[in-house]
């Protein structure tokens, strides 16, 4: 049976080639996503942790268990707690790179041996920290010993800072007033060493960095032996911390949920409740989880169409192949093969092909994953950070799933054929029935469902913003509606095509050339066969167009929006010194700011233009309890030079607004909500005060709803999950006026750069004393958006889908026409015998292509644009609703469409080329000889 199968495969090499392509692509697509997910989510998790570490200057993943005992009480012993901590960290199963044990006696009064600076008693906190010796260098003295010395002293050491802070010196001796050990011996400490951390930035110091300089350090064994133990520890008020600093960089994302589960469970156990602290880890992990869930849901939905198309493709090719093998099947059946043997034969064939495809699909999947990870825009690849590819159990699972689906898709059609004997076969060759979907009006149904979805989503678009903000995923139904719309419209057009042809035929019946006539009539009569290929083409083009639009729109809107909010290429604010310390002492002294040198910015390489922009978010209108506003003081020309304002956002041109502002020193532009919500009119006087309560006035010369650096509304999610919207108010004034009135007042420097801020970076690095309180670099922000897993994943998956669909379409188109021409060689021979010229035969084929291919491309384009116009604004909300300031624009870059159609044209050209070769190789007499077999 195996050899029979092999022979069959070799004989049908074209079909087998198609099946293989379909299978390989299916496996590659199915595996590329889990591959990508693992790597990109891992990166996302790392980024979240890194960002915390950078901004907070603190290692985010420190697990700490605390034990406090009170003198006389305490049910739980230190030993129990320590064991519980060990067990907990074991269960967490994370990579611990540093365990820090800290024991601390409560702060108690001591009598110094030598009274210095009139200090008769000193409060001392005795502590012991494990492995301290490995992280310090001794400046003076030596490490404390592990035993009480001969005179009964506990040796301790102190950090150099403590000498100043606690006024303790090397050799000092202190006797606790009420702290005893052993047989009522008083605890005495002696300072034997002064140390300094080897590297204060080490995470080792984090668990006790606050108390670091306020305590004295004895040895851990001494502390434990003296004070710990179930009978002893009841006598002391002290605490112990077991801190485990673990490495988040080695935390695989597959472990996140179990880790979170363990963390949550700990807080529910009696022993550990209120005694554990996870640092920032839990918050970051929770945030990551919900973000990952949201992104994953979106990305999975985005892949559904291409996976379905792949399945349909396999089903179609398998069906086509069976169609060709009907004779053989009926022969097998007539010779006594059972139905199951036939099914088994095809099952073997499918499995065989799937295994081969697996071998090629996995590497291709890896390649796809790399493409996904490097995508920067639709059909653009080449991100600066490449993604490491890791195989996980998931991938095997997905690959196995893909194989299973492909085997099912290619075996199912056999079942209906397997019962075929020669008798049935002859009977079945009657007039073609209408396709099932046509009889069921599937196209109309799908369109109706998708339109229902469209209108209900449009009605609830406000709620969608809220959902997205509160971390909900994009409603899968939205994207499904979108896909159904494309499918429904595609089917509808495929239904329309023969009708249009019939109309054309009826009108021009007697005016057509014979070749056109034969072609059109042929297209009408063989309609059902062409349906699938037409549908495929329509879907390719329409999905291609809408994918382009989705990808471009979401990313460019996010980028433009970010640019609008940031305001200029580079925005920095230096720390301004002031005389606040003296104004606090003396009410008569005026608050004065000392302006840092501005001219130094002019020397920076890559900075083209720069201007001062006063931005005061503490400004108010209407005194105390009044309205919080953002006050912006600008130099109109300079501001114009560094900012960009999209045309058409404001009722008048940007230049006009800046011009009116420059005409009158006291002119102000205010946000539109001043007019809508506060009732201000043009020409009104508005009085405002800055953060230091100094006032200014302005005449309203214009209302603006958009302004560089201004967000009209901001959203905040409350703890109960509700979304709060806040109106932001803006006053734009002349900086020169404000400076005349208030003197020097902190401003930001807005710059226009030509090098993406690189010149500034190196310039700033050379100035370690430059203290910046704000630094926004547009180029870096843009990079962040482009490489955001959500955007990149979307771009990547849409691009990949498109490439796959295009390949399928090319292969499907080619195979369809090769089959169609091969099966009509005899017909062409007859036509040639009847005197039809080769030219006319070619024309006949061209007309066929126009009726199918060109029709599909045109309608596909139309559907794609329509679907995008309808759905993309809603889909876009799932991506950037919270920060969307600018009105959403559907973005189509001509380049994208050119690229799209160029690729399609190339595929068609290759098809034509191959077909033309087949036709020119055909000769009449040999074609006619077919009839003699």
């Amino acid at each position: 049976m195996f050899s029979l199968m092999l022979r069959k495969l070799i004989h049908k090499k074209w079909m087998v080639f198609c099946l293989l392509i379909g299978n390989i692509l299916l496996i590659a697509v199915a595996t590329s996503y889990p591959l990508y997910r693992v790597s990109s989510f891992q990166r996302m998790l790392q980024d979240e942790f890194d960002r915390y570490a950078e901004t907070e200057n603190e290692w985010p993943t420190v697990f700490r268990v605390t034990q406090n005992t009170l003198k006389g009480g305490g049910k739980i012993s230190f030993a129990q707690m320590e064991a519980a901590a060990e067990e907990a960290i074991d269960k967490m199963d994370v990579d611990v790179f540093e365990k820090v044990e800290v024991y601390r006696m409560s702060t108690l009064k001591t009598d110094p041996a030598v009274i210095r600076d009139g200090e008769e008693e000193k409060r001392i906190t005795m502590a012991a920290v494990s492995n301290l010796a490995d992280h310090i260098e001794m400046i003076d003295g030596h490490l404390p010993s592990d035993t009480v010395d001969s005179e009964g002293f506990f040796e301790v050491m102190i950090p150099d800072e403590a000498m100043m802070m606690q006024n303790i010196l090397l050799g000092d001796e202190y006797t606790y007033q009420v702290l005893y050990y052993g047989n009522d011996l008083p605890v005495k400490v002696k300072v034997v060493g002064i140390f300094r951390p080897l590297d204060k930035t080490e995470y080792f110091w984090q668990p006790f960095k606050e108390e670091y300089a306020t305590q004295v350090y004895t040895s851990v064994p001494l502390f434990r032996n003296t004070f710990l133990g179930s009978d002893k520890e009841k006598n002391y008020t002290m605490s112990g911390y077991w801190s485990y600093i673990w490495d988040y960089r080695k935390l695989p994302i597959s472990q996140v949920s179990s880790l979170l589960y363990q963390m949550n469970r700990m807080e529910k156990t009696e022993l550990l409740d209120n005694r554990v602290n996870h640092g920032a880890a839990m918050e970051i992990l929770n945030e990551y989880s919900s973000k990952a869930k949201r992104i994953e849901a979106t990305l999975v939905i985005l892949q559904v169409p291409v996976l379905l198309l792949l399945c349909a493709f396999l089903y179609m090719i398998a069906g086509q192949m069976l169609q060709m093998e009907r004779n053989e099947i009926s022969l097998l059946r007539s010779r006594g093969a059972s139905k199951y043997q036939v099914i088994l034969l095809y099952f073997m064939q499918s499995s065989f092909l799937s295994v081969i495809s697996l071998a090629m699909g996995l590497p291709l999947g890896t390649l796809f994953c790399k493409l996904l990870g490097s995508s920067t825009a639709f059909l653009e690849f080449g991100a600066s950070r490449s993604l490491p590819v890791k195989f996980t159990g998931d991938v095997i699972l997905y690959a196995a799933g893909a194989v299973l689906i492909s085997v099912i898709m290619t075996t199912i059609p056999v079942i209906s054929y397997s019962g075929l004997s020669i008798v049935n076969l002859k009977q079945s060759r009657s007039r073609q029935k209408k396709s099932l979907w046509k009889r069921l009006y599937l196209d109309v149904i799908l369109l109706a469902i998708s339109l229902y979805g469209y209108y209900s989503f449009r009605r609830s678009s406000d709620r969608m913003i809220v959902d997205v903000l509160s971390g909900e995923t994009m409603d899968p139904l939205l994207y499904i509606s979108f896909s159904l719309f494309i499918l429904g419209a595609g089917l509808f057009c495929a239904r329309l095509q023969p009708i249009l042809l019939k109309i054309f035929y009826a009108v021009f019946k007697n005016r057509m050339k014979p070749s056109t006539y034969a072609s059109i009539l042929g297209s009408i009569r063989t309609g059902a066969k062409q349906e699938f290929i037409i549908l495929f083409m329509i879907l390719t083009v329409s999905i291609g167009i809408s994918d382009t639009m989705i990808a471009r729109t979401i990313v460019l809107n996010a980028v433009n929006n970010m640019k609008h909010i940031v305001g200029a290429d580079l925005v920095v604010k230096e720390r301004w010194n002031d005389n606040r310390s003296s104004t606090a002492r003396d009410a008569d002294v005026q608050l004065t700011y000392y302006e840092p040198d501005f001219d130094k910015y002019r020397t920076i390489e890559g900075v083209d233009e720069l201007t001062q922009v006063l931005v005061d978010d503490r400004a108010k209108v209407g005194g105390n309890g009044g309205l919080n506003v953002r006050l912006m003081g600008i130099k109109t020309q300079g501001f114009y030079n560094v900012t960009n304002m999209e045309k058409g956002l404001l009722p008048y041109t940007y230049e006009e607004y800046l011009n009116v502002l420059s005409v009158d020193a006291q002119a102000v532009l205010v946000s539109e909500n001043f007019m809508n919500k506060q009732g201000y009119k043009l020409g009104d006087v508005i009085t405002y005060e800055n953060g230091d309560k100094k006032t200014g006035i302005g005449f309203i010369y214009g209302f603006v709803n958009y302004w560089p650096g201004y967000e009209p509304v901001s959203y905040k999610i409350n703890e109960d999950g509700t979304v709060e919207t806040t109106d932001n108010y803006l006053i734009v004034s002349n900086l020169s006026y404000l400076q005349d009135k208030w003197g020097a007042y902190p401003y930001e420097v807005w710059m226009k750069t030509t090098d993406g801020g690189e010149g500034f970076q190196s310039w700033a690095q050379e100035r370690p004393n430059l203290a910046l309180t704000k630094l926004k670099n547009m180029t870096a922000e843009e990079e962040k958006i482009v490489q955001d897993t959500m955007f990149q994943g979307t771009n990547g998956i849409l691009s990949m889908s498109f490439i796959v669909i295009l390949l399928l379409c090319g292969v499907g188109y080619l195979i369809y026409w090769i089959m169609s021409i091969r099966s009509r060689e005899l017909l062409f021979g007859v036509l040639r015998a009847m005197g039809m010229r080769k030219r006319e035969i070619n024309w006949l084929l061209i007309v066929e292509q126009i009726c199918s291919g060109l029709f599909a491309i045109v309608t596909g384009g139309f559907i794609g644009i329509l679907a995008s116009r309808m759905f993309v604004p809603m889909i876009q909300q799932a991506y950037a609703a919270s920060e969307q300031v600018l009105p959403l624009r559907l973005i189509t870059q001509t380049g994208d469409l050119v690229q799209l159609f160029a690729v399609i044209a190339a595929v068609l050209f290759v098809c034509f080329f191959i077909l033309a070769r087949i036709i020119s190789g055909m000769n009449i007499s040999s074609a006619l000889k077919l009839g003699e077999d």
Binding site: Y517, I524, R525, L827, G835, R837, K838, K929, E932
Partner: protein
Amino acid sequence: MSETILQASNIIRSFPVAGADPFIAVNNVSLEIPKGSLAILRGRSGSGKTTLLNMLGALDQPTSGSILFMGEDITRWQESKREKLRREKIGFVFQSVSLIPMMTAFENVDFALRMAGVKDGRKERVEECLKMVGLGGRMHHMPQEMSGGEQQRVAIARAVAHRPGIIFADEPTAELDSTTAINVVTLFKEMVEKEQVTIVMTTHDTSLMGAGDVVYELEDGKLI
């Protein structure tokens, strides 16, 4: 019967064979077909009769020799001129499935008229031809809804519709049972009389030879 419509002189057709001597399908054949006759080319399968017929019908060109169609040597003609000849002056009937499958019987016959550039009176002529072959009642059936004999009769109607001077029929009876085959040959004879057309048909069936006005027998590419 005196006028010659087709005259072949010393025609040879050979096909190159990779790594061997060329295969000579038709070897030095000369024949004459009188106008308004039913000519029969008989030979076993592989005797070269289809190759010969293809050359006579301007579908294929001989390697050497000449074919005069109404006094003109068509072997010297350009392909386009021969196409025009086929469209207007020649009709073909093939062994099997020579109908255009996506056209009805009517449309198939009509298509031959369209090909020949006939503009007016097509409908009447198509109906006339289909009635002539006895299919007046099945004009709007698709080929696959007809029996082999019926299909062949449509093919004959199509071949004759544009009033060609000559009809070439390649084994038109090969796939038919003997009664139907005799009917087809009888139809040919009727047409020769009614339409003043010349018919050249090939067959391997010796029983049909008696029907021919002229009979040639072929063996291994040679006339015997």
